[in-house]
Structure formats: C-alpha cells, structure tokens
Symmetry: C2
Subunit: 333 residues, 2 copies
C-alpha cells in the first residue's frame, strides 16, 4: 500500500506538498501539483484513514446499539440511521444487545472515543447507574425510551400517549375487555406502554383486570402467539388486544385464528411500530406509526451537534406518531 511518503519520493517533493494536494490545501505550485497528481495516480495512493483519524482525533464512525436487527422495526430504523449518517460522512457500526442489561452495559462501556465519534443507543434494560459508571466519553443519544433520568440527549415518541391512543381507539370502537401483550418490568418501553394502557382504561372507567395482562420476554411472533394462546385457553378471552409491537400482534392474530376466533369480529388487535408488513397482512394491522425517518435523522443530528462541540442542556425531542387504523380493528374486509 502506497503511503504519502512513497508518493512524495516518486514526485520528488516533500510529504507536506503531497498532503497539501491530497487535502486541497493552500496553493501548490502548478508544476509540483502536476507531478504529485501523476505520482498519486501511478501509486494508486489511498489515504490511511486510521492514521488520519489518529492525527485528527476523529474516527469517522458512529455506533448504533439496538436489541436485534432481526426485528423489522430495528432493521428499518437502522437503515434510516445509516442513510442519515452518510450525509455527515459517518459510517455506522451496529451492535446488538438483545434488549438485555448486561450486553447493553458491556457495549456501552466498550464505546471508547477511539472507536467511534458518537453513539445512538436504544436501551431497554439499562439503569441510571450504568450510565454514570460507563459513560463512554463520546456524544450519546438515546433513541426510544426515556424512563431514565440521565443527562443525555433523547429522541423518541411519547410512548405513554401513543399507547393511550391505541387503547382509546379500541375503546371507541366498542371494545371493553382489552388485554395487553408484552408486559415486562425490565423493559423501559413496556413500562411506558403499560402506563398508557392503564390511563386509557381509567379514562373510560373500565376495570383493570390482571388476568388480561400477558407478559412477554422477547417480542417476536412466537411470543405473541404464545401469550394469546394462553389468554384464550385459560378462559380469559378478551374482545381486543393491545400488543407492544407488531410482531407480537401478528403472532396474536395467528393464534386467535388457530383458536377459531376471527379478527377483528371477535377480537380486535392493535400493534405498535408500523413495520412494513403490517399494511399487507391479512387482516392488515392497526398500529402506532412513529415517524422512523425523523427519528433516525434527528438522532444523527443530535450526535453531530454534540460532536461539533455543541454544549448546553440535554435535549429531549419528541417525534410525531400517528395511529394507522386498519382491518385488525375495524374489519374493512
């Protein structure tokens, strides 16, 4: 691999001059520039980013920490982050945590200022303590939850309100026995969505029935299907279910069908995330749709601001969401 020095030698000039040409700095004597360019081409010189960054004190990378890329929501989000990051000449490093505290903490701690220029983290189980202890010394932005009282930039949607909106919709369409799937005290997301669920019930004067609250460890189809099956076989048949993400919801729809219930006639189901599939499933899924593009953009912008030395209070930015009303609650088909 050709280095600056090689090029300089070949062109018969100093490293500085070559560096100047490469970086388009101050005026270089045309004659020299020509020779440098020739040497550059002849050697096929490619700058060593590692060395350059060492010198400049930046890395050219930002990290993105998500539970699992195999969850379509995070796949979609990650895609958006990569796109947004490219606009600031950043490449994106992705780490997975399974939404568990230990991997989240370890990953956080491993994020040195020498690896990445900043990190976007989507923590589920992290505690305040983990932050204070393992602050990686780089700009950080939290994506999604904000149950933690830590002085870090945050971007997300109003989870409590979103959950309340979803449940309210079920109530407005006449449902009364509304179950929830996804309860999980170790997940920040779950806690907030539970709160919204309870608020909506309270608001409508409906009873809170513990037997209609189904926990879920992971948030895959399987978990939704199992939770739904359990509700149905234990005789706690709801007339609607609010699921904490779309995968749980699709699993629940399937389980309901397998048990002979028709969605939405017998049971209405609403999800959360509006992943691409939900507009095409049978029935299509009513769900909360966060503006994922804005989420990704904003997160990257926040990192950029801090990386450029932006100081001041941590920001907390709310991104809009909408409720997509589809067949799983109003049964158009």
């Amino acid at each position: 691999m050709a280095t600056l020095k090689d090029v300089a030698l070949l062109a018969g000039v100093s490293v500085k001059t070559v560096s100047n040409v490469v970086n388009g700095y101050s005026f270089v004597k045309p004659e020299n520039e020509r020779r440098v360019r020739e040497a550059l081409a002849a050697t096929g010189y490619q700058p060593n980013l590692g060395a350059r960054n060492l010198r400049r004190g930046r890395t050219g990378f930002i990290a993105l920490m998500v539970p699992e890329l195999s969850i379509p929501y995070f796949g979609e989000l990650a895609g958006g982050v990569i796109t947004a990051a490219h606009e600031h000449d950043w490449s994106v490093l992705i780490e997975q945590t399974q939404g568990q505290r230990d991997p989240e903490r370890t990953t956080l701690a491993s994020l040195g200022p020498h690896m990445v220029d900043g990190a976007i983290i989507s923590p589920e189980a992290l505690e305040k303590d983990d932050f204070t202890r393992h602050a990686p010394g780089i700009p950080l932005v939290m994506l999604g939850e904000h149950a933690l009282d830590v002085p870090i930039d945050h971007v997300g949607i109003d989870n409590v309100l979103a959950a309340r909106t979803a449940v309210r919709h079920l109530i407005e369409t006449g449902r009364r026995r509304i179950a929830v799937i996804g309860q999980n005290p170790t997940r920040g997301t779950a806690t907030q969505r539970m709160a919204g669920y309870r608020e909506a019930l309270a608001e409508a004067g409906l009873p809170q029935s513990p037997e209609l609250i189904a926990p879920a460890n992971r948030y895959h189809h399987k978990d939704g299907a199992e939770a739904m099956a359990q509700l149905l076989t234990q005789g706690h048949v709801p007339d609607a279910v609010f699921c904490f993400n779309d995968m749980l919801a699709h699993g629940a729809v399937r389980a309901a069908a397998e048990h002979g219930y028709v969605v939405p006639r017998d049971i209405a189901i609403v999800g959360f995330d509006n992943t691409e599939h939900s507009a095409y499933s049978l029935p299509s899924l009513t769900t909360i749709a966060p503006d994922k593009t804005a989420l990704a953009q904003t997160a990257v912008d926040l990192i950029r601001d801090r990386a450029n030395g932006g100081a001041g209070e941590p920001k907390d930015i709310q991104i809009p969401f909408t409720l997509k009303i589809r067949e799983s609650t109003v049964g158009a088909r």
Copy 2:
C-alpha cells in the same frame, strides 16, 4: 483521556511495562503489576484502538454491504453476521446499496484496507469489471450470488436448485399455470431464480408463458402486490405464483385476496427467504429457507481465514436450504 504514558508516569514504570500488563504479556514483577493496575484503575485508562490498530496494521472492523436493512431477510442476516463477527473481535460496519450497481461500486471502492479488515458483500448488480477495477485490497467474500466469474470467496445457497425445488413443489401439488414475480435482469438473484423456474417447467413439460412473468424493481410488499394485481387484472390468472422473496409473496397474497381469490385454493403462493413472519402469516407462507446462521458464520470464517493470511484458490461454499411447506400451497387451514 488517559494514555499509556500517563499511566506509566503515575505508576512510576515505563510504558512498556504498562503495555505488558494491559496486554497480558510476559511476566511482570508482581509489585509493578500491582502499581500498574492501581494506576490503570485510577486513571480509568482505555486503550486507543485507533493507535493500537495503526500499529498492528488491523482495524478491528469488517464491513457488511447489503441492499437494504429494512428487508427482513437482510436484517436477519446482518444480525447473524454481527454475532459471528464478535467471536473474532470484529465490529461490523453496515452499508446499504439498494441493490443498485452504482452504490455497490462506490461502496466497494471506498473499502480501503485502512477502514476495515475485510468485507462481506451481497451484490446484486455489480459486474465483473467493477471488481477488477475497484478491488479494495482486503479480504472479500460474496454472500448470495455468484453469477460473476470473479476470483473471490463465495458463500450461498444453490439458487437455481432452490428455485427449481420451489416450482417443482407447485407442480407436484397440481398447479399448471405458474407465474413468477420478481424478474429483473439487473439482479443476479433474479436471473438465477428465473433459470430454476424455467428448468422446473421444462422438466414437467409445461409451457413457458411470457405473460406469466412479472418483473419487479424492488422487492417489497408493494411490488409484489402490484405485480399480482397486474397479472389478475390483465386476465393472466395463474393457479400458482413463485415469488423471489417473502415480501413479494406476502404482497401477492394480499393482492390476490383483494381481488377475491383465495390462497391457496385458487392460487398457491411460494416465497423465498423464510423470514420470521412467514411462519405466522395467514395463510402461513411456503418458502425456501436458507440456513441463515450458517451463511453468516461461514462468511465471517472465510474473511478470518484470508485475514490470517490463508491463501489458495477462492472457495465456493454451498449452504443447505430446505423448502418449508406451509398453508399458502397446501392449505392446512
């Protein structure tokens, strides 16, 4: 940020000794080790990976280039690659190309030996020429397609055989007018799957009807739904459809339903990729299931072998696949 030197100063030893302790090298006098460890703790020392890698001539990163992370198949695959890479102390950098030649080429060219130690690429539209011109000088492994005759390690499934298997299954279950959705001459994947489709038809002595071949530019639900709608409204009603990925298939199922056709009674549908959703949709989707974990593992292993200096002929590794027979072709429910 504390450096080795700071630690050495504080511990009253040389940098070398600190480096030895940090890297667990040769025996260090216990007394010194203790002092070093104290200093390490006191300063909260974190090695500067950039500098270390500069010295070692490695970067600690591998790149993964995929069309879109928002396609669940690639999300699942990327998750597997990240997991496998971690076992070799690599972090994974993800780049998206939209399956288009230009971004693929640009990304390939930008992959210097100083950015990453290797790259796993899942090219769709790249041509041989692009490789010879923009070879990044790092270990490369192609994931998925292998239409190109370039001397690069490759891991994938036998696409032609897989496609043939899928179509054969349709024929065996009595289908005769078998359409295909996803044809696209610029995509390597599509070309191979078309070949398998044709082989299966020929094998069974079925006619090849051009009007049953529906192209698709992108491979999302939308594209599948549109292609299906077009087939149906133009009067080319098939009794089965082979879709080049699961998203197209789900879109097609939905469009069929919207036009009043029942899957699989009127039209059987088979997909490709076996993304998580396909086991839970209504109807669940018959699809080709590549062993994604093996795919990811093997790709990383190939990079590792080359990065460790492994020479020799480019390898071409075939990963097994199975045909998951589900409701969309045999209608259990």
